[in-house]
Amino acid sequence: MQGSTWSDGIVGLLTGLGLPEMLALGIAYGIGAFILVNFGMISALLLIWITRKAISRMQDRLGPNRLGPYGLFQTVADAAKLISKEIITPSQSDFLAYNLAPVLSVFGALMLLAVVPFAPGLIGVDLNIGVLFVVALGSIGVMAALMAGWGSNNKYALLAGFRVVAQLLSYEIPMVLSILTVVLLTGTMSFGRIVEAQSLTIGGLNLGIGWFGVMMPAAMLIFFISSLAEAELTPFDLLEAESELIAGFHIEYSGMKFAMFFLAQFVNAWILSALMAILFLGGWQGPGVGLPVIGPILGFGYFFVKAYAVYVLQQWVRGTFPRVRIDQMMYFAWKVLVPAIVGLIVAQAIAQKLPFPDPVIYAIIFVANIAAIWLVATMLQRYIKGESLRTKRSFEPTSLIGTMQEAKEYAMY
């Protein structure tokens, strides 16, 4: 584990006061954890506000605009309402699973904040296995949803629980594989060093624009799509499809317990956008981060601008696209995204072993990415054509008297 610079100051101060180093380190990490957790909680208020405002604009409404400037304090009022609400527990619910699920879901989301590099040197713990850590914590969210679905003793919640497992596990594979492209390129799983690798030094000056997203647009796109599915956002929000499942696995939760699921979902969505900023958009890299004093502050700003920009993009997609069907969702994960990203990884691994100078290798990777995007776009176009044809046929009057034929030449699954 490398020493992270943020804790050194506090440790130095405390050991100067005569505390043993072990205790000082413990206190320093305690303070860091406290700040991070509260940052997560408070940023959720802002995230909910951003979501509501963004979606309102897309639907030609104003959104919350009464409480505070631009309705900023609406979420605070909502939170106060949720805290004061009665907590209703279903009589046949399973005590352990029902009560543990919201806690676990928030735990999984907040733990992720520990490995996010906010600025140069400002990272909770720069784990050498940061990428694996994030992937492993994703499974806690799955477990929490399963426990909530089963513990609620409600068939809709249970159905949603099944869907959660199917969706989150399916989309975890393309997401992890798209992160693998970055790991393959940098040779490290630490987020700190992945961000550092995205600098672009020209003439001794760090321009900070060597973003991987420029070189690997297909991997970035696949990561973004799978992060939408992982965050349970609209094209893939089958987990809480109101028209089918009423509310999803948290249907039986009320008051603060429901709010915890809500919080976990928004924090998760933000962290996934932050991860996209870190992995593909350079994290805190940007023009001028190499400067002595102002650099880290600039980096902090760059990181948040990027993370929130991706978050708004997520909300934009959420406000634009209709929900996919469950078979389309599975089809898309297993037959489109996974083959595309596996092909990309193979191409990249071969390209990196070729005896060419680095720029040529990067060019080959870029071409492979463009080819992957073209391939996926073509496949999707064919699929959508076939789907629209079948929809049209099923609405034709003749189709109702048993003359409807299967659109076999277009059906791809």
Binding site: N128, I129, L132, A136, V165, L169
Partner: protein, 173 residues
């Protein structure tokens, strides 16, 4: 010769005791839970406890892999299977069956054997510093594709066979 007072436990020992107690308690829960789903949840807790022990041994890679594979994949699969079998899901099942006595005997024997091994084997404790984490992962990867390539490939083949088998079972016709 006066018996020396045991030294105060270090923080590490205290943490280890806590984790070990948690792991053992949840392992007991796996065996004794009357509700199978509770057993699965206890299994998750046990695996977490073992992962925490790995962290204490500074084997973060192993710990995270443990959480990823056992909690993320295997326990989810177990929970899923239980949720799909209705009678197991809500009904209370007995943790014991007719073979409880024999199994208990073997459990005790295995425990004694393991305990004896742990006590009698002189564990090689080398003073050499452990590889830094990053290079350890790299070394592990290299071992997989050089010394242990056959085991690695056979494992991959096994997983492929399982995948194909699952698809065959799930097909309509």
């Amino acid at each position: 010769m006066p018996f020396p007072l045991p030294p105060l436990p270090t923080i590490g020992q205290l943490v280890f005791t806590g984790i070990a107690l948690f792991t053992c308690a949840s392992a007991l829960g796996v065996v004794l839970a009357r509700n199978l789903f509770h057993g699965a949840l206890a299994l998750v807790a046990t695996l977490f406890g073992v992962a925490a022990l790995y962290v204490m041994l500074e084997a973060e890679f192993l710990a995270v892999s443990q959480v990823l594979i056992y909690v993320g994949a295997i326990s989810t699969l177990i929970a899923f299977a239980i949720m799909l079998t209705r009678s197991m899901m809500y009904g209370k099942t007995s943790p014991l069956n007719r073979q409880a006595g024999k199994t208990g005997l073997f459990a005790v024997l295995i425990f004694l054997a393991l305990f004896g091994f742990v006590q009698s084997i002189p564990w090689p404790a080398s003073a050499a510093p452990v590889l830094a984490n990053e290079s350890m992962i790299a070394a592990l990867g290299e071992q997989f594709v050089t010394n242990y390539v056959i085991a690695f490939e056979v494992l991959g083949l096994l997983l492929l066979v399982a995948l194909v088998g699952a698809v065959m079972l799930a097909r309509d016709n």
